[in-house]
């Protein structure tokens, strides 16, 4: 049934449809309305058999999720930006312990300087933590990806992070098709863990692994990540068959056949990119521009990306984070996926700390990228002036 809902409230309802038995959260900034919404659904009795725990920090939130998931209970939490960093030690533990937690990350910038707005710096900090990471393009996808995430997580015995752009999605009202409880129950049956901690059958998890075995354990974790590609695709197809929405999978293409230039991005900026590309293509007979929406950032679907981009002459990667002193993160990974192909790759760093991204700005660089590394909308005069002052102070 269709509703006009705020992104966070829609995701809260989607979480309730997935019947988690433990939801834990540190409900203070940085946070979204999601956990507040879930809390209300628990209190009003709409989400039954669920223990809602307000904890004292993000570190405690992820730790509670680890504990409850180890006890064999479907568990959920959510955070943003600095909150994820505060969790980070336990974020690695969750994947190492093979616990299928689902967590929403309402993507926001990382300070300092303090900034509460959207970018993907928080998500990038967790890119090597062993979680599966899915990015939503709009709020319908955010809803659908969460429902798929529990199934993917429990099938793979790996935690899944669903990333949705802070404010741009979490605070936006849109039309949302919320599935029926019965249908979600059919798609996502009750959680039956293969293993759980049980006082009647005592055992230990998370034992120390010595140098003689550690490499093997990590290698196997890597292999499982790669296997997740197949599972994410399969569950996306199952979801589409049942709910008639192609909102999952590893990636999606838009007018990429015969496109000379293909734009690659993750998250909510894809909507603005698609509108820009439509306007640019309208002026030509052939479809010059195409778009690749990357849904699964971890695992990184090299093979599928290569297949989708192989006929392009130029690939423009628009990314909302970058490695200081190095450059684009996503674009380096795309470059690896395209190794050996004669394709020009342009990095566009955009929207940092909530900087506005407009169709006009995008159209300009899609048509004529001035460099292979562009900071979209960077106020170069101010940067030059500031840099001059710094050099003067150094006496250079």
């Amino acid at each position: 049934m269709f509703y006009q809902l705020e992104g966070s409230q829609a995701v809260a309802k989607a979480i309730a449809l997935c019947r988690p038995e433990v939801v834990c959260a540190y409900p203070i900034t940085p946070q979204t309305h999601i956990v507040e919404g879930v809390g209300e659904l628990v209190r009003s009795g709409q989400l039954e058999n669920c223990q809602y725990l307000n904890v004292e920090s993000e570190m405690a939130a992820i730790s509670v999720a680890i504990g409850s998931e180890a006890a064999g209970v479907r568990s959920y939490t959510a955070t943003s930006s600095q909150g994820l960093l505060y969790m980070m030690e336990a974020v690695y533990n969750a994947s190492g312990l093979e616990l299928p937690i689902v967590m929403t990350l309402g993507n926001r910038a990382i300070g300092s300087p303090l900034n509460i707005w959207n970018d993907h710096a928080d998500a990038m900090s967790a890119r090597d933590a062993g979680w599966l990471m899915l990015f939503a393009e709009n709020n319908q996808e955010a809803v659908d990806l969460h429902i798929q995430a529990f199934k993917i997580a429990e099938t793979m015995r790996l935690p899944v992070m669903v990333c949705m752009d802070g404010f741009i999605l979490t605070h936006a009202y849109e039309k949302i098709d919320l599935p029926d409880q019965k249908e979600v129950d059919e798609f996502l049956p009750a959680y039956k863990p293969e293993f759980s901690l049980d006082p009647k059958k005592p055992c230990a998890i998370g034992a120390m692994v010595s140098p003689s075995d550690f490499m093997e354990v990590r290698y196997m974790a890597h292999r499982r990540q790669l296997e997740a590609c197949t599972v994410i695709e399969k569950i996306g197809t199952e979801f589409n068959a049942k709910f008639e929405r192609n909102t999952g999978g590893l990636l999606r293409t838009y007018h990429t056949e015969d496109a000379e230039t293909i734009i690659v991005a993750m998250g909510s900026v894809l909507g603005t990119i698609k509108d820009t590309v439509d306007e640019l293509n309208q002026t030509k007979d052939n479809k010059e521009f195409g778009v690749l929406s990357l849904v699964s950032y971890r695992p990184f679907p090299d093979k599928q990306i290569r297949e989708a981009l192989k006929n392009a002459k130029r690939v423009i990667v628009v990314e909302k984070a970058f490695a200081l002193g190095r450059g684009g993160i996503l674009s380096r990974e795309i470059e690896l996926a395209l190794k050996g192909l004669d394709i020009e790759i342009i990095t566009v760093i955009a929207g940092l700390g909530g900087r506005v991204i407009t169709k006009t700005m995008l159209a300009e660089i899609f048509q004529q990228p001035k460099d292979n590394m562009i900071f979209l909308g960077l106020r170069e005069d101010i940067v030059r002036q500031k840099y001059r002052t710094i050099l003067d102070q150094r006496g250079a």
Binding site: Q4, A172, K175, K359
Partner: protein
């Protein structure tokens, strides 16, 4: 696509107004998107919120640069917020003011209504958002007053909802009468 930009100050229900407008359009079977300008919301600070209404799927997330209508909940932000920037020809401007405001706008329908006064009279609080939505329905015809009333009832309940509905109706009737 019809695009509305709402200017005001924190505490005046600017964001809620955009949300209610999107709900009104949704209730009429349209696609609608509402989002705030993501300031760090504080009482009294300038706030902008946006609403897009369309018969097709809305994908773009850029702020509204060329609005078909601008609603001003607090006229003291007009200059500093560049409230009328980019407004399209034949667009609408709706200003919360009991007296006329000089806008220097050509080819734009400008309507002033004392929304705070109506809100104080009908609701007992100086929150002009629901009042302005009633007036907006009459001025533009983009959404029906019935949808606005239903939207108010989804965001508020009890006496507050009733009073805001009445305030929106008063503004709707007055704007229709003066059009």
């Amino acid at each position: 696509m019809f695009q509305i930009r709402i200017h005001g100050r924190g505490g005046q229900g600017v964001v809620t107004a955009a949300e209610m407008l999107s709900i009104s359009a949704f209730l009429e079977g349209k696609d609608a998107q509402a989002f705030p300008s993501f300031g760090s919301e504080r009482m009294g600070a300038p706030v902008v919120a946006f609403c897009r209404i369309s018969n097709k799927e809305i994908r773009s997330r850029e702020p509204i640069l060329n609005p078909n209508a601008v609603i001003v909940q607090d006229k003291t932000v007009i200059e500093s917020a560049h409230a009328f920037d980019g407004i399209v020809d034949d667009g609408f401007v709706l200003i919360n003011s009991p007296s006329d405001v000089e806008t220097k706008l050509n080819n734009i329908q400008v309507k002033c209504i004392g929304a705070t006064e109506i809100a104080l009279e009908q609701v007992g609080r100086p929150i002009p958002n629901a009042v302005l939505l009633g007036s907006f329905a009459a001025l533009t015809g983009v959404v029906k007053i019935d949808s606005v009333i239903k939207a108010i009832n989804t965001k508020f309940s009890g006496v507050i909802a009733e009073k805001n509905v009445r305030a929106a109706q008063v503004a709707y009737e007055r704007t229709l009468g003066e059009r």
